[in-house]
C-alpha cells in the first residue's frame, strides 16, 4: 500500500523481514490489536495487514529490525512459540524497556491496520483516498458570531 520510493537508500536499512522476524511480528501484532467478532475486524496479525506492514518499513527498517530483535531477546527465542500469557509478559517488558525503535514499529502497524478496508468500514469510513471525492461538511450558521460582533473592536491601536 505504501507508495514511498521503490528503492530505499541503504541508510534506511534492509527493507525485508526474515521468516523469523515475520513470525515474531505477527505474534506481537496479535497481542497489540487482536481480532474482534464484536466489531467485525481482523487482528493486526491478519495476513493482508502483515503483508502491508512487511512492505512498508521504509525509513524505519532499521528500527523495526532492532525492535523485533529486542523482543526475541526478551522472549528468549521466538515470541510466537511461547504460550499466550508469556507472549503478553514479553510484550509488556518490551513496552517498558524499548524506546524509539518500538515507537516507530508501532506507528507502521497502526498505519497499516487503520487503512485496511475491513477496519475502515467497521469505523464507518469509506475505504478510499480523500481525493477526488472529498467530504461534506455543514456550512454552519454564522449568526453564532453575533455576540462577537456586538462586543466590537478588540485590537490595540499602535
Amino acid at each position: 500500500m505504501s507508495s514511498t520510493v521503490s528503492f530505499p537508500p541503504p541508510a534506511w536499512g534492509n527493507p525485508e523481514l526474515s521468516a523469523v522476524e515475520k513470525r515474531t511480528l505477527a505474534a506481537m501484532c496479535a497481542r497489540m490489536i487482536p481480532a474482534s467478532e464484536e466489531y467485525k475486524v481482523p487482528g493486526a496479525d491478519d495476513a493482508l495487514i502483515q503483508a502491508d506492514i512487511a512492505k512498508s518499513l521504509g525509513r524505519d527498517a532499521t528500527a523495526v529490525h532492532n525492535a523485533l530483535a529486542q523482543l526475541e531477546t526478551i522472549a528468549g527465542g521466538s515470541l510466537a512459540d511461547l504460550p499466550i500469557d508469556q507472549q503478553e509478559t514479553a510484550c509488556a517488558t518490551l513496552r517498558a524497556e524499548a524506546g524509539m525503535d518500538l515507537t516507530l514499529l508501532t506507528r507502521i502497524i497502526l498505519q497499516c491496520y487503520y487503512r485496511d478496508d475491513r477496519v475502515m468500514i467497521s469505523l464507518g469510513m469509506e475505504p478510499r483516498p480523500p481525493f477526488p471525492k472529498g467530504h461534506e461538511l455543514p456550512q454552519g450558521d454564522w449568526s453564532l458570531l453575533d455576540p462577537v460582533r456586538a462586543r466590537g473592536k478588540i485590537w490595540r491601536e499602535a
Binding site: M32, T106, R107, R115, P130, E136, D141, V148, W155, R156
Partner: protein
C-alpha cells in the same frame, strides 16, 4: 563555469521569493531565481492514495531530517525542544502549510514602545496594509469580513476579494457555542484555501489533508499562484539549483553566487542584485557559509546578528474528546481562531500574548498513533472499544505564543553535518523563554477552560508540539541601526548594498500568528521600494 550576468538573482522560490520575483518582473529586468528543489506534481500528493496518512510521516513529513529528499538539507536541531519543519521545492513552505492566513496586529510592530519588550519595526501595519491586500488578491483568501480583532477587515469585503469562509462544521459549532458562553472572541480563520473557483484554482472539496500539498489545487501555494504569473512576465526559474555561497568583490558588493546544478556541476551566476529568500534557517546558513576575507564572520554580519534572535512560535496543543462525532479529517484542519488573549494585559504576568488556533481533528491513523503514544489507546482486547471513543471525537486547539527575540536563540553552522553537496548544515540552539513559559501556562489553562465548557472529556496537553518549528523568524532582522540589525527598513543589507533579504528572517518580532501573509507582504513592500529607488539603489 560562468553564466551571463543577470540584473536580479533571487535565491529560493518559496513564499517570499515568488512574491518578489512577480513584483519585480514589471521592471523588465533580467531576473533569475535559483531553487534547490523541483516543481511539485499535485497528482502525487498523499491525499491521492490510501496511504495518505503514512506518507505524511514519510516522504511528505514536515521534518527535512525525516523526509530526506535530495533537495532537503539536514538540520541539527538537537539543542532545541522545537524541531525545524519546512519544505523545499517550487512553492517552498507554501506547499506544505496549513494555509492559515492571519496578519500581524498593528501593536506587533511597536512592542518596544508599547510594552518595553522586543524592538520596534522600521515599518508599520499601515505601511504594509496595501501589500497585505495585494498579496491576498494573488493568493486568494477565504474568510469572513469585519473580524473585530483586526483593522484590516474594516475595509469593505470586496476590496480584498474575500471568498466565503471555510465551513463551520460540527467542530466549529461546538467551539463557537463554548466561546460564546465564556464571552471570548472567536472568528473563522482567514485561509488561502479557495472556497469558490479562483484564478484557475478549483474550489475546496474538503479533502481534509491540506498540509502536505493540496491535490485539488484549492490551497494557494506559490507554484500555482505567483510563479505562473512571474514566468509569463519573463522571470526565469531554474530548479534543482542549490546555492553554495554568495560571492563578493573587492568593493564588498555581491558579484553573484556559486551554485550546484541538478547534475552537481558548480556554476558561477553573476548578478547586479542578489535577493535572498531562503527562510529563517536557510538564510543565515547561506550568509554564514558566504564568509570571506572581507566578511570573516559571514556575509552582512558586521552586527553579529546573522543567525541570532531565532523565533519559532512555540505551539502547545490542548485537546479533549466529545461523546459525539465531530469533523475529524473531513475538512481543512483550519477552523477558527481566537485573538482574545493576543494583546498585552497588565493584569497578566507576561508581556504580549497568544492566539488560539482552533483545528478540526485527525484521521484514524493519526488519532491511533497519537493516542497510542500518550497512553490512551491500549494493547489487547480493550483496544477496539477504546478507539471508538477517540476516533473522530477529538477537539483540539493550539496556543500560538508570541516568541520574543533573544540573542542566544540562534542558527550557526554545524561543524560536521553537511548536505548532499558538502555544504555545511545549520545548527539550531533554542530555548523557550521565561515570558513565553508564563504565556504558555496561562494559555493552557484557558484552553482547558474552553474544552470543559464545550463538554470535552479526557483533556490532554502536548507542550510543546515538538515538530512545530514552521515559523523560522528573526535571524537577519531589519532595523535602522546597522549595529543591531542586518537589513534596513526596506530589506537591503547594511553591509552589502546590492544584497537584499525578503523572507521571515527579517522579522523584528514574531507576533503570535502564522507569518506567511506578513512574509509575502514584506517581500512585495521591499520589491516596491526597490522599484522606486532603482536610480539610487546602491547609494
Amino acid at each position: 563555469m560562468a553564466d551571463d550576468i543577470v540584473d536580479v538573482l533571487i535565491i529560493g522560490a518559496g513564499a517570499s521569493g515568488a512574491a518578489v520575483a512577480w513584483s519585480l518582473a514589471d521592471t523588465k529586468m533580467r531576473i533569475v531565481c535559483l531553487e534547490q528543489g523541483g516543481w511539485m506534481k499535485p497528482s502525487e500528493y498523499p491525499s491521492t492514495g490510501r496511504d495518505w496518512e503514512a506518507r505524511a510521516m514519510g516522504d511528505y513529513s514536515p521534518s527535512p531530517n525525516r523526509r530526506g529528499r535530495p533537495e532537503d538539507y539536514p538540520i541539527n536541531d538537537d539543542a532545541s525542544p522545537i524541531k525545524v519543519v519546512n519544505f523545499n521545492g517550487v512553492g517552498g513552505g507554501t506547499v506544505m502549510y496549513t494555509a492559515h492566513w492571519p496578519r500581524l496586529h498593528p501593536s506587533d510592530f511597536r512592542t518596544r514602545s508599547l510594552d518595553g519588550v522586543g524592538d520596534d519595526w522600521p515599518v508599520s501595519y499601515d505601511m504594509l496594509e496595501p501589500y497585505y491586500n495585494q498579496n491576498d488578491r494573488m493568493m486568494g483568501v477565504s474568510g469572513l469580513a469585519d473580524d473585530p480583532a483586526y483593522p484590516a477587515n474594516a475595509v469593505p469585503q470586496s476590496s480584498r476579494r474575500l471568498m466565503p469562509p471555510l465551513p463551520l462544521g460540527r467542530s466549529g459549532r461546538i467551539w463557537g457555542e463554548a466561546m460564546n458562553k465564556l464571552g471570548w472572541h472567536w472568528w473563522p480563520s482567514d485561509a488561502t484555501i479557495a472556497t469558490e473557483d479562483y484564478e484557475g484554482r478549483a474550489k475546496c472539496i474538503n479533502l481534509g489533508h491540506c498540509t502536505p500539498g493540496c491535490a485539488q489545487g484549492a490551497k494557494a501555494s506559490t507554484d500555482i499562484t505567483y510563479w505562473p504569473a512571474a514566468i509569463r512576465a519573463g522571470v526565469e526559474l531554474r530548479t534543482h539549483c542549490r546555492v553554495k555561497r554568495i560571492v563578493t568583490g573587492d568593493d564588498g558588493m555581491a558579484t553573484g553566487v556559486e551554485y550546484f546544478d541538478k547534475d552537481g556541476t558548480l556554476h558561477f551566476q553573476a548578478a547586479h542584485v542578489v535577493v535572498v529568500a531562503c527562510n529563517g534557517i536557510g538564510t543565515p546558513r547561506l550568509l554564514l557559509n558566504s564568509a570571506s576575507e572581507q566578511h570573516p564572520n559571514g556575509l552582512a554580519n558586521s552586527s553579529d546578528q546573522v543567525g541570532r534572535n531565532l523565533m519559532f512560535h512555540p505551539y502547545i496543543q490542548v485537546f479533549g474528546y466529545m461523546d459525539e462525532e465531530v469533523d475529524g479529517n473531513r475538512g481543512p484542519p483550519l477552523n477558527l481562531w481566537s485573538h482574545e488573549f493576543y494583546e498585552t494585559d497588565p493584569e497578566r504576568d507576561f508581556k504580549r500574548g497568544y492566539m488560539l488556533q482552533i483545528s478540526r481533528g485527525n484521521g484514524a491513523v493519526a488519532e491511533a498513533i497519537a493516542s497510542h503514544e500518550n497512553g490512551r489507546l491500549p494493547w489487547g482486547a480493550d483496544h477496539h472499544a477504546r478507539f471508538r471513543k477517540l476516533a473522530y471525537r477529538k477537539l483540539n486547539l493550539s496556543v500560538v505564543v508570541d516568541d520574543l527575540p533573544e540573542a542566544h536563540n540562534r542558527v550557526t553552522l554545524d561543524p560536521v553535518l553537511t548536505d548532499s553537496h558538502g555544504i555545511p548544515a545549520p545548527k539550531v540552539d533554542y530555548t523557550i523563554g521565561e515570558n513565553s513559559r508564563r504565556m504558555i501556562e496561562h494559555g493552557v489553562e484557558r484552553c482547558k477552560t474552553v474544552l470543559h465548557t464545550a463538554g470535552a472529556r479526557d483533556i490532554g496537553v502536548q507542550n510543546p508540539i515538538v515538530f512545530s518549528g514552521w515559523h523560522n523568524l528573526g535571524t537577519a532582522r531589519m532595523g535602522d541601526d546597522p549595529r543591531s540589525s542586518v537589513v534596513n527598513g526596506w530589506g537591503r543589507s547594511h553591509d552589502v548594498k546590492n544584497l537584499f533579504i525578503v523572507d521571515g528572517s527579517i522579522f523584528v518580532t514574531a507576533g503570535a500568528v502564522n507569518p506567511t501573509s506578513t512574509i509575502q507582504a514584506l517581500a512585495l513592500y521591499i520589491a516596491d521600494q526597490m522599484k522606486q529607488r532603482l536610480d539610487t539603489l546602491f547609494d
